[in-house]
Symmetry: C2
Subunit: 269 residues, 2 copies
DNA sequence: AGATATTTGTTCGTATGTATT
DNA sequence: TAATACATACGAACAAATATC
């Protein structure tokens, strides 16, 4: 109960930062983090209630609330009202992390080319890694995703849906990875492209080649993974990415023209 | 002035999320984001002052402050007191984004192997990309970083410093990238390793081979980049990563045993 | 150097909303 | 339905920081 109150930051040697002393809510939220780690708290566990935190940190309700809001914004807790309610530790939802990262790139003017430069090396690695531990259950999920675009689209609307489904195939792949870093990074890149597909003008002109070749590559990929051949999976995915990159090359749109909402859906456009 | 108040989320189809209606601060902070994008505001621009926001959103001071705290936590604004003060839009600092991402992996049990699996494909790509646009100025920065470990360490303390400096070489490389995604991802991986070097027990046992071979590889890398040979740079970096991965293989420590502080330095250990 | 005005930061008291029992 | 336990929101007052004169 005493180590909790230890001030940790003070932002020792800050040359350019204007704030020498972090404000109270920041200090409290960092102290709560330490409390969480020191007590070895896990997702699902409940933090002390507001009145207790007020007493524990000798801070007002407003300050505690701001501190909790910081933690909530970081995705570390979620709060519920009512009896038995309070602030609960959460495993940060991937959507939330994607939104936070997307904000980071807001002023950075990402291009489609930037995204594919990385996909071109990460996705093949992902494919090789998955080959080691994917089973029939996962292949079934992947194949059920593919039925959405196993035929030419009848309408513009359907083409749009197919593009999204194609991206969801890669989303699934990422989720299956045993490497959390690889899972997040591949998933994040797809989320950027998905956002483009949903909100922006890109993908507006029909591109039958993209669908057809994508479907074919993905089929070959599953084959190779079923056969347990990581190097084949790697090179098929590589070819898939190279082809997609080329077909997207004209679309040199700038990504990310709006901030992503942390709690829920993106803004329509 | 009216579109600003539009509610955007409502979290439409949420099956598992308990909260049907986002609370007021969340709504206000999202509305402020929309205001920022609609007005085309840029880093350095100032948001309306608290009293104005209170009027604009018909919310209490506490609510507005919580909303601003959310934006601040996301790294989107920084506030200053005093005349001419207020909330200023910021280009999210990389440290801040690193800390947010580090939190995401807190419950994910990252291993050293996970980190190197990705470095092994991203760093070579980075090396090839840099070759296209790096000049003498950048080479000078890199070489000045290398002097810290151009000789065997005399003390444990110096070895520690050398390890950090070696990582900073890669941090520089990442910063130089013209691809913001590549820059962030490579930088983030290094920040994870750096955190290990500073806070955790890893890197505890001397490893002269790691330094010696690292120094040699980095020298060759600069040569290749100077010569404008991207494929040579790529393969040298690849070899560098493969070697480092192997030398780190025993250190199967789990990364990230503490949350990172958003405003300043990490917690000592 | 000191006084002052401006703007955010913090606190308290109270009232309201919401989910469980 | 009512009671209870908890978060959520409001408003007024006061404190602290900082730029300017």
């Amino acid at each position: 109960m005493s180590a909790v109150f230890t001030r940790l930051d003070k932002s020792g040697a800050d040359s350019k930062s204007r704030r020498a002393v972090p404000n109270r809510p920041s200090v409290v939220s960092e102290a709560i983090k330490i409390m969480m780690t020191d007590k070895g708290m896990m997702p699902g566990d409940r933090l002390p209630q507001e009145p207790d935190l007020i007493r524990a940190f000798s801070a007002s309700k407003g300050t505690i609330r701001e501190a909790l809001k910081m933690l909530e914004t970081q995705g570390l807790i979620q709060t519920r009202t009512g009896p038995g309610g309070g602030a609960f530790i959460t495993d940060i939802p991937t959507d939330h992390a994607n939104a936070l990262m997307s904000n980071y790139f807001f002023f950075k003017n990402l291009s489609i080319g930037d995204i594919y430069e990385i996909r071109q090396v990460l996705e093949p690695e992902l494919a090789a890694e998955l080959t080691k531990h994917l089973g029939e259950k996962e292949f079934a999920v992947l194949e059920s995703t593919m039925v959405a675009y196993d035929h030419p689209p009848a309408t513009i609307k359907e083409e749009q849906r197919q593009r999204i489904a194609e991206l969801e195939f890669h989303e699934r792949l990422a989720e299956f990875s045993a490497n959390p870093l690889l899972a997040f990074m591949c998933g994040f890149l797809v989320s950027l492209l998905k956002d483009l597909a949903v909100c922006r003008r890109i993908y507006r002109n029909p591109n039958p080649e993209l669908r057809e070749r994508g479907y074919s590559y993905q089929g070959q990929l599953i084959e190779a993974m079923r056969a347990g051949d990581p190097e084949a999976a790697r090179s098929i995915m590589k070819a898939h990415m190279v082809a997609a990159r080329r077909l997207m090359a004209k679309q040199e749109a700038i990504v990310n023209r709006g901030f992503l909402s942390l709690n829920g859906k993106k803004r329509g456009a």
